[in-house]
Structure formats: C-alpha cells, structure tokens
Symmetry: C2
Subunit: 153 residues, 2 copies
DNA sequence: TTTTCTGCAAACGATTTGCATACAC
DNA sequence: GTGTATGCAAATCGTTTGCAGAAAA
C-alpha cells in the first residue's frame, strides 16, 4: 500500500528546488494507476503515456524515472531482461521489502511479501561492519504452473 | 574453493560436443588466476588477455563467458554498474551461495559467506508453490571504511 | 573432411547527452 | 525574467550477429 500522491511529489520537488511539471506528474500517475506488481520499463511508461495523448519524449521518461528514484518514490530493479524496471517504493521503516520470484521457464515475476532477513542483516553488520540500508533478493526457479508441466528447461 | 580445472572444462565440453579451444582455456584460466572475489566483465577479461599477448576478440569473450555460464562453471551477476560480470561458481549441493554487499559510496563489492535463506526458501515453497533453484541477494549500504567517513551520499 | 569456432566489423537496443525551445516559478 | 525541463536527434556503450577464414575433432 503506497502513500505517495501527486501532492507528496510536489512537496518533495519543492524541497529540492526541482519543478513540478506535467510530465513528472503523468509518470507518477502511471505507477499509481497500475497494480503494484507491475514492473515498468522506460519504454513501458513511454508507450502507456503516448497511448493516451501525451506528447512526452522517451528521454524525459528516462530522466524522470531517475529523478523519482532519487527522491525515493520509485525503486529501480533489474530482472536481467535487458532493461531497467521501476516499481513504487513501498518500503518504510516498518515494512520490509518484498522479494521477487523469477520463473526460469515462463519468465513471470511473482512478488513474495515475507522478508525474514533481519537476522541475516544483523549478522552481516556484526561480522563485517557493513551498514545495510536496503536489499534486493531474487529467487530463480519454477512457478506453480511451470512445475506441473514437465520440466524442460 | 573451486574445483574447476582445465581438465574438467575439457571433459564438460566433450560431453556436449563443444570443442576445447585455446580461447576457452585462456578465459577459464583468467578466473582461476584471480582471487575469487573478483567479478570480471567481458571487457575486463578481454583486456587481461590482450595485455598478455593473446589475440582474442571481444566477441569471443562474450560467447565464451556465456558458454562457461551455461556449463555451470561461471555465474553471471549484475551489480547495476552497466555491465554483466562473472565469477567462478563455487556453489555445490552442500554449500550455499555467498551474498554481495555493495557499498553505495565507494562502490566496493564485498562477499559475505553465510547464507541463512533455507527457512525463507521453505516458506516460499509452501506458500507460493514456487520451486527455487537459485537465488541472488544483494545488500546495499555503507562499508566499514565509508561509515567512518561522514556519510555524504 | 566436416563442423564448430574465431575475429572482425557492422548491427542492435537501451540509455545518455547536446542543444535550442518551452515552461515553471 | 531566470533557470530548469523538455523533445528531438545524435551519440554512446555494452552486447549480439553475419560472415569468411581458421582450427578442432
């Protein structure tokens, strides 16, 4: 459940002397409109907006995604499919991140909400002196549907 | 500790009717010569070899890295620095993978050997029916050295 | 000999950048 | 008005591919 709104974006932008533009609003709106499991690439966002009358340029989409990422509104993720993808950042001090299960057969990306990494993070902090601020966990394997088909890889 | 040798490569190649070539041997040797913490990109491997008289082409490096990956000798990893990197695959049925700690300040990549994901993997299998065959875990934060400098991000 | 592999150069696709114009403040 | 943001096109960078010649089996 995300707490981001267009007003929140406006405030963050103001704080850092960035400008609230039509394009930045449109892009955040695309993410707010999508179910949260969707992981959108720059091309995805661009074509969604183009399909609804926007004249936005692809370079602007790239620049805005990076900006929204740096503001902590979006998270950049790599699924190894050749392009960077973004999702709304639902992380907050009380909720850990979800993990991604990537099916090697159908390439589907499934979200999994349990975190369970506190203990491991603590151990890392103690043993290596590394201060963790975020993590990214991907599990590769076969989803329920593909397990039932015979496993031809 | 890796068990891979040139002889092992020769055997694997034979099994699948691939040919043992000078170039494939050279590339594996680069990884055997490096300390295991090194994560080499295609460019890295190419320039290491070029710097020691080899006439190998970059395309061959790309093709060979992919082949060694498919044979299970190398693992491909993405650190978000714009290129794919490889490391010797030290995974075996008895030893889990290590994790990577990526420092947001100095960009150093540190290895961490504990795994501790069995419980989480089991929970995922039960709750989602997903069969896990591998995982990739990255922790982002600040390494011991950079924590001590004042944290300007 | 037969097939696979190599090096090169060209092609590719995602992302970035330079620049003149348009817009937010 | 001033400075930032935009759209476009060109540039960039990692990676892949086509192909003719070279090497392995």
């Amino acid at each position: 459940m995300s707490n981001f709104t267009i007003e929140y974006l406006r405030r963050l932008l103001q704080e850092k002397d960035y400008k609230m533009t039509e394009q930045r609003r449109e892009i955040l709106q695309v993410f707010l409109d999508q179910p949260s499991e969707h992981h959108l690439s720059a091309e995805d966002v661009h074509s969604v907006l183009r399909s609804k009358k926007s004249e936005i340029g692809l370079a602007t989409v790239y620049r805005s995604l990076e900006l929204l990422g740096s503001l902590g509104i979006l998270l950049k993720i790599e699924f190894g499919d050749g392009c960077s993808r973004y999702e709304l950042n639902t992380t907050n001090p009380n909720s850990h991140r979800h993990h991604h299960l990537i099916c090697l057969k159908c390439k589907k990306v499934i979200e999994f909400d349990e975190d369970k990494l506190d203990e491991l993070e603590e151990e890392i902090a103690i043993k290596s002196g590394f201060e963790i601020v975020n993590h990214e966990v991907k599990f590769f394997g076969y989803c329920k549907d593909c397990r039932n088909d015979n496993n031809e890889y």
